[in-house]
């Protein structure tokens, strides 16, 4: 794997005297599923805001989808997608309206939006829901749609924040299958989560603690390195030595 879509070298972010990100270095490749883990307050949110062009680094090199995180934040925003569990779609708009709205926000042409709309409805077997309000959809369907909308504009990277918290086990697996499918098309999937069993699905994971990345490898190698049966155990060993 050679195609780096996220390149971070010696990233530092300070708020006054507080160092939220302390010299982070890592790379993420095209089509990779990368898990970004850490306890509450470890500095994950700060880093993701920088990776998505919402905040600028204090120092260090950050390149996202080929764009510089100091000067090209608007271009970064156009090349990424974002989905979180709590909010992604407008509940009082229909399925169709949400897709059109997001297509417009991403700056897609009307004809492209129409094309993607019909593709998406067919792929998700959503035709019967086209004119239904989001609030009337079951949680599992909402999540599937939210994920599809997050990659509507075929971004290079999609950021997922705790994507499968609280859903039933079947829906959860269907969701991971669509993540695999997306990654197999070359889109990088960047997952942040508290839930260590979600981390087990990732190709590689990093674990942050007090502003630093303290571990980065495949789940399997980390489990071996820390002599643990699960990533949860690895995490606890790292965060509570």
């Amino acid at each position: 794997m050679s195609d780096k879509v996220i390149y971070v070298k010696n990233l530092v972010k300070k708020f006054g005297n507080f160092t939220a990100n302390d010299n982070l270095s890592f790379e993420v490749y095209a089509g990779e599923i990368f898990g970004f883990l850490g306890a509450n307050g470890a500095g994950k949110t700060t880093a993701i805001r920088i990776l998505s062009g919402l905040s600028k680094p204090t120092s260090g090199e950050v390149n996202i989808a080929g764009f510089d995180a100091y000067r090209e934040t608007e271009k970064i925003k156009k090349n990424i997608g974002y989905m979180c569990q709590k909010f992604s779609l407008y509940e009082d708009l229909t399925v169709r309206e949400n897709i059109i709205l997001y297509g417009g926000i991403y700056g897609m042409t009307k004809s492209l939006i129409r094309e993607r709309l019909s593709e998406l409805l067919a792929k998700l077997r959503f035709q019967e829901y086209e004119n239904r309000m989001i609030s009337a959809l079951p949680l599992g369907l909402r999540q599937k749609l939210a994920f599809s909308v997050a990659v509507l504009h075929e971004p290079k990277i999609v950021f997922l924040d705790e994507p499968t918290g609280g859903v039933d086990p079947i829906t959860r697996r269907q969701f991971w299958e669509s993540i695999y499918e997306t990654a197999s098309r070359g889109i990088t999937v960047f997952v942040t989560t508290h839930y260590m069993d979600e981390a087990e699905y990732c190709d590689r994971i990093s674990i942050m603690n007090e502003g630093k990345i303290v571990a980065l490898d495949t789940p399997e190698k980390l489990k071996k390195q820390y002599d643990a049966d699960s990533i949860e155990e690895v995490f606890i060993k790292i965060a509570r030595p």
């Binding site: 949680l139 697996r173 695999y180 990654a183 839930y195 699905y201 399997e220 965060a239």
Partner: protein
């Protein structure tokens, strides 16, 4: 054995939605009993009936020997309830919240301090801080202290670990384990299957119905077929290829592998050859112990075909 809770045929409907259907179970005294199920499965509705905050449409809910519909006044004195949403007073300090809850139940913090000391000692250094300014893990510990301060016989915890990081989650379960020595019965709900092993017994709940009740070990043993894991670097290709094989009954992604079962528990011997023929040369197949989640999936599938 005395029962802390006896639920007989409880049903509750909200408009067209059947939130709970024919829910029957019992919880023994001093037991840690878990309700494991996804969002919208009915956990919160059930807990609100147990805590006398909601009336069932059908059935009888007996809690600590009392009827939750008619004996609610007496019952409320004996229940500690930690709802899913943080419900303490955000603009009161840690200490003020605790004192307030003690006073409401006609007791003092001093009288029952021993019960909460393990938990409260973690947040006592911040006792002058407003509750709204605490971190997630600290809020959770304060809420638990407040739910315990009147020394309830039954503690009801609705998704106490949702949104909390792995370290705080693990600490929280350790604290619940310690409460056992005070003879408090605990019922707790969670959407996370991996927390089931921290309970004495669990009920798996889905769409308002209980799928199974047993010890975590027995629930795992209930899995009716042979389970195998298959690993390969190309997960998406692997899962699609497996599904195209007519011997495969189920194939689900599970962390870094795919969990499969075969029709009539056929042997997996020919499977490596099949995968190799389809261009997957690195597949590793091994037999596996089913977990709670495997059993939950099996029960859900049975439910949908029944």
């Amino acid at each position: 054995m005395t029962k802390a809770i006896e639920s007989i045929g409880i049903a509750k409907t909200f408009g067209p939605v059947k939130a709970l259907e024919n829910i029957s179970f019992s919880v023994n005294e001093s037991e840690i009993f878990g309700f494991i199920g996804p969002d919208g499965s009915g956990k919160t509705t059930l807990f609100r009936i147990i805590t006398t905050l909601l009336l069932p449409d059908e059935g009888i809910m007996k809690v600590l020997g009392m009827n939750s519909t008619t004996d609610y006044k007496e019952l409320r004195k004996n229940i500690g309830y930690m709802p899913g949403r943080f419900s303490l007073y955000q603009d009161l300090s840690v200490e003020e919240n605790l004192n307030f809850y003690a006073t409401v139940f006609g007791t003092t913090v001093k009288e029952n301090y021993e019960l909460i000391s393990d938990i409260y000692s973690h947040i006592e250094p911040f006792k002058k801080r407003l509750a709204g300014k605490l971190s997630g893990g600290m809020k959770q510990k304060l809420a638990l202290s407040c739910a315990l301060i009147h020394k309830p016989r039954l503690l009801v915890l609705d998704e106490p670990t949702t949104g909390v990081d792995a370290v705080s989650r693990s600490e929280f379960w350790d604290l619940l384990g310690k409460l056992r020595q005070h003879n408090i019965t605990i019922i707790v709900s969670t959407p996370y299957m991996d927390e089931a092993i921290r309970c004495d017994r669990v009920a798996l709940i889905q769409n308002g119905k209980i799928l199974s009740i047993d010890t975590p070990q027995k629930i795992r043993e209930g899995f009716s077929r042979k389970l195998f894991t298959v690993k390969s670097a190309e997960k998406y290709k692997l899962i699609k290829t497996l599904r195209n094989n007519s011997d495969i009954m189920t194939a689900f992604p599970f962390g870094d592998s795919i969990h499969i079962t075969l029709l009539n528990d056929k042997s997996v011997n020919s499977l490596s050859d099949y995968l190799r023929g389809k261009g997957i040369t690195d597949a590793v197949i091994s037999e596996a112990e089913p977990g709670i989640e495997d059993r939950f999936l099996e029960l859900m599938e049975k439910g949908s075909t029944a």
